[in-house]
């Protein structure tokens, strides 16, 4: 707190300027004996199993290339990579954590074009590939594709006498009724029928995907049904109040893995956490996966999600080896390695699904298999230069609606007004 008058961030920005001019005298990358070393920027290496799976697999397939992970804290990933690139960093491969950051790096010419490599992939088998299309050019190849499903606690469901098959074709209305009936107890021993994490996407991206609404449009009437249901469930005590979850920084993993909530809409990435925690004995929860509830029970499953990709840094001194790595990660062999780590790969095929469901601990009944074949996966947030500004506004107004500081109608009107007037 005892810094000088000057905002330290200005200092950071200027330092970045200085270092950018200096360029980077990166370590010598060509080691003796013809082996090459490439560096891969990634996050939480110890707790994100697919990174190690991909790196190990790639090194086995390419013994002359050594891969060195550059581990970054997940929460700071985008900021850290931005700062690194500003300093002329030569880390060869950059993981694109989300498509908004990707479009930022891509349009600013920080990544090597991979259009030819992308064209080699069968778009029908890579549902996430089109998200990386920046006016006909590709700068990254997806290796992983997450989408949202409904997790449920098998033990608590059985205790309440609800058959799992009921979840196979659930509507949001059915979800609300079921969650209400599953809520039990009071105070510290309360079990919530459902837990919806504090993120805006649970309400907003679901609405957008299932009604066909556009999150960047500035007209948000299509959020209304989903918000009404969520606010109603919060009011009657079926959901933990948003304000409590937010101020206590409640983690969804705690809510679900300790049996504090029976149903929980969440991304497929959570399955790999559950698998790892079950294996290490951290949790004993009996869990299952069902398709995300729908607006109508017509058998069509529409959900939302995001792909994750690898890209090659423009400053890379080993761009050929780096490209090889990126291509391998999204190939069939890479997808197998990812699936074996309990993560959903970008490549979608029956063989991959079989590999995934054969893993010990993965729930593999009908309901889970249904959950893994969504009819349509809509991108969580459309890619545009306006995405991050719109995201900020939608997040702020989401907080106000969920804490009851603004009525639903006022909140939706304010979202529209702000997106239309503030986003340029």
């Amino acid at each position: 707190m005892k810094r000088h008058l000057i905002p330290s961030l200005a200092a950071a920005a200027a330092l970045a300027l200085l270092t950018a001019c200096g360029g980077s005298s990166g370590a010598s990358d060509q080691a003796a004996g013809g082996t090459q070393t490439i560096k891969v920027a990634l996050w939480n290496y110890a707790t994100t199993p697919e990174f190690k799976a991909i790196i190990d697999g790639f090194q086995t397939a390419n013994p002359t290339i050594k891969v060195e992970p550059v581990d970054i804290l997940a929460d700071d990933y985008a900021e850290k990579v931005t700062t690194m690139l500003a300093g002329g960093d030569t880390t060869d491969v950059l993981t694109m954590k989300n498509v908004i950051d990707y479009s930022r790096f891509g349009t600013r010419g920080q990544l090597i074009p991979l259009t030819d490599e992308a064209k080699k992939l069968d778009a029908a088998k890579y549902p996430g590939l089109s998200s990386y299309d920046l006016e006909g050019k590709y700068f990254a190849l997806p290796y992983r594709q997450d989408f949202w499903v409904l997790y449920y606690n098998k033990t608590l469901l059985k205790q309440a006498g609800v058959d799992e098959s009921k979840l196979k074709n659930l509507t949001w209305e059915g979800y609300a009724t079921l969650a209400k009936s599953l809520t039990k107890g009071d105070g510290g021993s309360k079990v919530y029928g459902a837990y919806q994490h504090t993120w805006r996407s649970i309400v907003q991206a679901t609405s957008a995907a299932q009604t066909g609404g556009d999150l960047l449009s500035g007209d948000y009437g299509f959020f209304k049904d989903q918000y009404s249901m969520t606010l109603d469930l919060q009011k009657n005590g079926t959901l933990m109040p948003w304000a409590t979850a937010s101020s206590q920084k409640v983690t969804y993993n705690t809510m679900f893995s300790t049996g504090k909530a029976v149903l929980m809409p969440m991304g497929t990435w959570y399955a790999s956490t559950l698998l790892a925690d079950t294996k290490s004995g951290k949790t004993k929860v009996e869990w299952g996966m069902a398709p995300l509830p729908q607006r109508a029970a017509d058998g069509q499953v529409t959900t939302f999600g995001s792909p994750t990709a690898f890209a090659v840094n423009k400053n890379s001194k080993n761009s050929d080896a780096a490209k090889k790595f990126v291509e391998w990660a999204s190939s069939e062999a890479g997808a197998m390695a990812v699936a074996k780590a309990g993560v959903t790969p970008a490549l979608n095929s029956q063989q991959i699904l079989d590999t995934y469901f054969a893993l010990p601990g993965v729930p593999n009944g009908d309901v889970a298999k249904q959950a893994f074949k969504p009819g349509k996966v809509v991108l969580e947030m459309p890619v545009s230069d306006k995405s991050s500004d719109v995201d900020q506004i939608l997040t702020e107004e989401h907080e106000l609606i969920m804490t009851g500081e603004k009525s639903l109608d006022d909140g939706l009107a304010e979202m529209s007004k702000r997106v239309k007037s503030e986003v340029r």
Partner: protein, 299 residues
């Protein structure tokens, strides 16, 4: 003869100037590299459009124009002023009050001094998390206490747009008061005991002694505390970032957060530098006004 004396004097003066410079050199180098150059760079950046990779583009006053028409900037400016208006006087009074109290020969005064200083050296994230727990709308001890004494609908604190800022101010006062209390304690040691003895002989009571001796004698300390507090209030970032992240909505969003979001998160370093220049000018102006007032009151 006269000439040699003169030149000897000049060279002595010159060499002592050099010695003087060499003493402040290490500090000045650090200041120049880490503060002065970046500030000048930030000033230049505020007229550029720069995303940290591509070639900067001269945009003149565009960044400032965008800022003036941006609702979020004005909200953040208002919130920053609100925070400062709450934080500065409260911390000042609390620090002075505790310093006077703990300057007496009480049992356990040392213990309480340490206890009050502790928050200042505690990890900020821990402070923010604990305050969030205390102020939790349903389960927090603060609201449970308020309910117990008959307030049916206590405020939602960090989850309410009305109460979030007061909550943040209270937490920051608690955190900062220890440091300023130590400054005041040091100031109190310099007041000669004879003044109090004389006042006592003249029959002045406690309040009269406080207002007529303690407060005026502490004026230099108060001035220093006031300047430091004002500057730190306008620069507040960390506690708010951890406690509320500027929320709910934008009710606790302050200028430093706008600078961070626009610069580090969004990569708009030009715009972000423009906002930081505005913050710099505000802090500079207020500090100059305070110096002016201090000079006038000394006359």
């Amino acid at each position: 003869m006269a000439v040699t004396t003169l030149s000897a004097g000049t060279s002595r003066r010159r060499s002592s100037t050099w010695i003087g410079w060499s003493f402040i050199l290490p500090n000045f180098l650090g200041f120049a590299a880490l503060t002065l150059v970046p500030v000048i760079a930030a000033l230049a950046l505020s007229f550029l459009d720069w995303d940290s990779y591509s070639t900067p583009r001269w945009v003149g006053l565009d960044n400032f124009e965008r800022m003036i028409h941006n609702d979020t900037f004005w909200t953040a400016l208002k919130n920053t002023a609100y925070y400062a208006v709450g934080h500065v006087p409260l911390t000042l009074c609390a620090a002075l009050g505790f310093a006077v109290l703990l300057n007496q020969k009480l049992r356990g005064a040392r213990f309480f001094r340490t206890a009050l200083f502790f928050p200042y050296i505690t990890s900020l994230v821990a402070v923010a998390v604990v305050w969030n727990m205390l102020l939790s709308p349903d389960l927090g001890p603060v609201n449970q206490f308020l309910r117990a004494i008959g307030i049916d609908s206590p405020p939602g604190w960090t989850t309410s747009t009305t109460w979030a800022m007061p909550a943040v101010i209270v937490a920051s006062v608690w955190r900062d008061l220890g440091y300023y209390m130590i400054l005041y304690l040091a100031g109190l040691q310099t007041i000669p005991a004879e003044l109090y003895e004389a006042a006592e002989v003249d029959g002045a009571n406690g309040w009269q002694r406080f207002w007529s001796i303690t407060v005026p004698s502490l004026r230099p300390t108060t001035f220093f505390v006031l300047i430091m507090l004002t500057i730190s209030s306008f620069k507040v970032f960390d506690l708010i970032q951890v406690m509320t992240e500027g929320g709910p909505g934008r009710s606790t969003l302050v200028l430093s957060q706008v600078i961070y979001r626009e610069g580090i998160v969004q990569g708009r370093f030009g715009y972000s530098s423009a906002v930081s220049m505005v913050l710099f000018v505000i802090v500079l102006t207020i500090t100059l006004i305070q110096f002016q007032l201090q000079r006038r009151s000394e006359r």
